[in-house]
């Protein structure tokens, strides 16, 4: 069961057939029914239903003299690393225990201005470092389709909130695939916009040259509407771009004649799970039938993306997470003197994966190793970005690939950190190159969802959505079977 779509809720609320409070009550009931809280799927770590209802009521009061917004009365779940004023923002970490932000993220402000109601903070891998939502101080999140399996990560809670039908839209964040991979594992749509498309003011920084706020939707249309609301320049974020935001829903009923779709051969290696290949082949057949021209292309540096990512991201994280020291906010543990306090606070406040990445990042930036690791990784990153530039300049409009090499794996199945990192093998390239990408369901294997991924050139999300809308229409129920 899915929540009523964003478009339907907006229309019904504007017409007065339902109130925003009705919709919030529906979400509360559905959350109870599926066990979305900590003792169940563990999708939400913080919720204040009374506050959500009060925001819904005040929205209804304002309706008479306000132009109906693009998200009128739509409850939206928010990842726990995006600052909200009335709920804690803890990044799934003990080190931010009890922290309630004194300012609000621009994306949340934009959602509220469009009539949305923030509905709870969702569980995540601590500081967004993980691919399974098992590394949270608040315990693992479970996949609603197979509760013994992970929902993917790091935005697993947001993916589960949508996949279990509590909300139709949720915000996540992407550094190496943290929206697209859980979207694929949970059978929903997940979008990573172009670097700079969406403000990051109020998103707790992990790796600043990679981070972007992303959107989950039950359908392509929900995701398109969500991104349309949060995209755009923000003077509070110097990395947000002053580029006009098109209507992403404009491609909802457009054919694909003239569209050139590239299939990068490196994303379809001989070792790819044959069932995933079969689902991708079926999706590509549909794209051809819709009028698209499909051709094989090459992104030759793809296999270097994981080594590059796991040098660049931990290096930036080791710097960004230096601010969590027990001085200004969050958790503090006293030690011997100032240094003892820093060490006690950070060692106790951070979990093992965050500690590992901070140490890895500190190592690759330290004297004697900087050139061999960090500088080299940044040079290879240039080669990865050049691969994309070359392919898009050759006339290819969008690329199509599998989102992940496998479906959702069992909770606790992967203990080797590098094996876990390989979950991001098809997604991290988009973050390294800064291009937009999205995942959508293209079928199931043994009941587990499989995701197909579209990628486009910088700021060309509209074309990506056009392809995704068309594929979703063409696959119909087959996408979920």
């Amino acid at each position: 069961m899915t929540a009523r779509s964003c478009a339907v809720v907006c229309e019904e609320t504007a017409a007065g057939r339902v109130t925003a409070a009705d919709t919030v009550n529906e979400a509360v009931g559905r959350a109870r029914e599926v066990g979305a809280g900590r003792d169940g799927l563990n999708a939400f770590v913080w919720r204040d239903d009374a506050d959500a209802l009060s925001q819904a009521a005040s929205l209804t009061d304002r309706l008479s003299d306000t132009k109906p917004g693009a998200m009128l009365g739509v409850p939206v779940a928010i990842k726990d690393n995006i600052a909200t004023l009335t709920l804690p923002t803890t990044c799934g970490s003990r080190i931010l225990e009890g922290y309630v932000s004194p300012y609000e993220a621009t994306v949340v402000k934009k959602l509220r201005a469009a009539g949305a109601i923030p509905f709870g903070k969702t569980n995540m891998d601590e500081f967004a470092m993980g691919s399974s939502t098992e590394h949270s101080a608040y315990g693992p999140t479970k996949n609603p389709i197979a509760p013994d399996r992970v929902p993917g990560g790091s935005s697993g809670g947001s993916a589960v909130a949508v996949a279990s039908g509590v909300v139709s839209i949720a915000l996540g964040s992407e550094t190496g695939g943290s929206v697209r991979q859980p979207a694929a594992f949970c059978g929903i749509v997940g979008v990573k916009p172009t670097y700079g498309r969406v403000s990051r003011f109020g998103l707790v920084a992990f790796a600043s040259s990679l981070d972007q706020v992303g959107v989950f939707g039950a359908t392509v249309d929900d995701a398109a509407r969500g991104l349309g609301v949060i995209a755009g320049h923000d003077p509070m974020d110097s990395t947000s771009a002053s580029i006009a935001v098109p209507d992403y829903t404009a491609g909802a009923n457009v054919g694909l004649k003239g569209l050139v779709v590239g299939l990068p051969k490196e994303y379809f290696p001989a070792s790819l799970d044959p069932e995933i290949r079969r689902r991708c082949d079926a999706a590509v057949d549909r794209l051809r039938a819709l009028g698209a021209t499909v051709k094989e292309v090459s992104l030759p540096h793809t296999d270097l993306a994981i080594p590059v990512y796991y040098i660049v991201a931990p290096a930036e994280a080791s710097s960004n997470l230096a601010r969590f020291d027990g001085v200004r906010y969050g958790f503090r543990l006293e030690g011997e003197g100032l240094r003892g306090m820093y060490e006690a606070t950070r060692s106790t406040g951070f979990g093992p994966e965050v500690t590992r990445r901070i140490l890895l990042g500190t190592y690759v930036l330290s004297a004697g190793y900087y050139d061999a690791y960090y500088r080299k990784a940044q040079q290879v990153r240039t080669l990865i970005a050049d691969d994309f530039r070359r392919v898009f300049q050759s006339g290819v409009h969008v690329l199509f690939t599998p989102t992940t090499p496998t479906p959702a794996f069992p909770i606790g199945a992967i203990s080797d950190p590098y094996e876990m990192y390989l979950s991001d093998i098809f997604t991290a390239t988009a973050n390294l190159a800064g291009v937009p990408a999205m995942s959508q369901p293209i079928g199931r294997i043994g009941g587990l969802p499989v995701g197909g991924q579209f990628l486009a050139s910088h700021f060309d999300e509209a074309r990506m959505f056009t392809a995704a809308y068309a594929l979703e229409r063409a696959l119909g129920a087959e996408a979920l079977a």
Binding site: Y103, A241, Y310, G330, G335, Y342, R356, K376, A385
Partner: protein, 102 residues
């Protein structure tokens, strides 16, 4: 470039992380296993390749160095671990620990 236990102690100190001796040995192993995969990069010819600087179409724009700071919805004492007269309180530096608190 194998990571030694001394390296782990050094980087833990730089990162202000307290690490026990048994944990330091385990972390050295973990980092060596991860970094072995990174050695792939050494095989790539990057002579003359510029390091990536910004990944957006516009490069990395810099905001004008202007205020004002944005207003906070609640004051620091709502979230600071320890605050007095508007200042964050921290333990004394170890070099000053023998002196009396003023």
């Amino acid at each position: 470039m194998a990571v030694s236990i001394d390296d782990v102690r050094h980087i833990a100190s730089l990162a202000r992380l307290g690490i026990t001796e048994p944990r330091a040995a385990a972390i050295a192993n973990e980092l060596n296993t991860i970094l072995a995969h990174m050695d792939e990069l050494a095989k790539v010819d990057t002579a003359g390749i510029q390091e990536a600087i910004g990944v957006g179409a516009e490069g990395l724009p810099v905001r004008k160095d202007l205020g004002p700071p944005f207003p906070l919805a609640r004051s620091h004492d709502a979230f600071a671990p320890s605050l007095r007269d508007g200042f964050f309180l921290v333990p004394r530096l170890s070099t000053h620990e023998s002196t009396e608190e003023s």
